[in-house]
Symmetry: C2
Subunit: 203 residues, 2 copies
Amino acid sequence: MKIYDFAFAPNPRRLRIFVAEKGLKIPLEQVDIFAGKNRTPEMLAKNPAGGLPVVELDDGSCLAESVAICRYLEGLHPEPNMVGKNSREQAVIEMWNRRIELGLFAAAGRAFQHTNELFKARIKQFPEYGATQREAAAQQLQWLDAQIGNKPFIAADRFTIADITAEVAVDFAAQAAGVAADPALKNLARWYESVSSRPSAKA
Amino acid sequence: MKIYDFAFAPNPRRLRIFVAEKGLKIPLEQVDIFAGKNRTPEMLAKNPAGGLPVVELDDGSCLAESVAICRYLEGLHPEPNMVGKNSREQAVIEMWNRRIELGLFAAAGRAFQHTNELFKARIKQFPEYGATQREAAAQQLQWLDAQIGNKPFIAADRFTIADITAEVAVDFAAQAAGVAADPALKNLARWYESVSSRPSAKA
C-alpha cells in the first residue's frame, strides 16, 4: 500500500493523522498540487476527480477521498476505533465530521481559493466573495466553540475522525484563509490544545 | 422514529429515496426551510447546524446529515445493501458518493444560492460567481458521463447511495441551477433513465 500525498494540503494531512493514530507506517509519495502533478494522465487514471490523497492498494487499484480511505483502513485495523463501533456511533461521528467539513472546512477553502495569489491563474477569483467566506469561517469557529462546550472530544468520548477534521480545519482556516481562532473561544482553545498536542498532529 | 423533511430540498429527498428503497415507512414532518422553520430554537436544539433532514429517534435523540442517517438506517435494516457490504466496498461507495457531493451537487448548490431570487434576502449574492458555478456544474455532468461509461450503476454492481446522490444532484442542477444534462451525454442519459424510473424516484 502507498499513499499519494501532498505535505501542504489539508486533506492529505487528515489521512496522515489518521494513519499515525492507528500506529501504521504507509509509504508516502509526494505529488505537487501547486505544480499540477495531481492532474497528469497518470494521476487522473488513479483518481479521475484529481484530488489528494489517493491510496494505491497492493492489487494496483486506487481509493480516493480522505474519509473513504480512513473507513477502509479502519476495516483493516480496527483499533483504536475512530470511525464508530456500531451503526449508531458511526452515524454520530459521521454527522459531526460532515458538519465540520461543510461548515468551517469548506468556508476556509473558498476563502483561500478566492483571496490567495496561488489561485489567481487557476480559477476566476471573486475576492469580495472570498471575504464573505472568511466571515463565514469565523462564525463557524464560534459555532464550534459552542458545540464543544465542556466535551473532551467532538463526537464521542474519545478522539475520532471528527476531531481530525476539526483540527485540520482550524489550522487550515488560520494558515490558508487568515482566520485564526479567537483565544476568547475558550472551549475551542482547550480542545485544540488537547488534540494538537497529540503526537499525530505533527504527521 | 420520525423524519423532519422538506419536500422541495435535495438533501431530504436523498433520505426519502433511501427509505423507499429499503421498503421502510417512516413518518415525515414538513419543516419549511424557505420560511426559516429549520432555524427555530426548537429545530436548532434537534440539529444545531440547521439543515434538513433530521431524524428523531424513539429515545428523543436526533441525527442529522443525510448520509450519516442512511448509514444508521442501513445498520438497522441491512437489506438491500446500499452503503457497502464490507469495508472495501464501503470505501468505494463513499468515494463515489463524495465525488458527486463535492462536484456536481456542491456546484449546483452554489449556482442556485448566488443566482436565485430566493436567496436575495438571505445571503450576499455574487451572480457572476454563480455563473461560474453553473459552468462548473455543466462540466461535472460531462465528467460524470465519462465516469459512468457503460456501467449500470455508479459505484457497484447494484443501486447504491452514490446513485441516489447523483440522481438527486442531476435533478437539482436542472431544476434549481438551470443546468440540464445535455442529451448528447449518452451514458449519463442511459443511467439517469434507469435510476429515475425506479419507484423510489418519486419519494
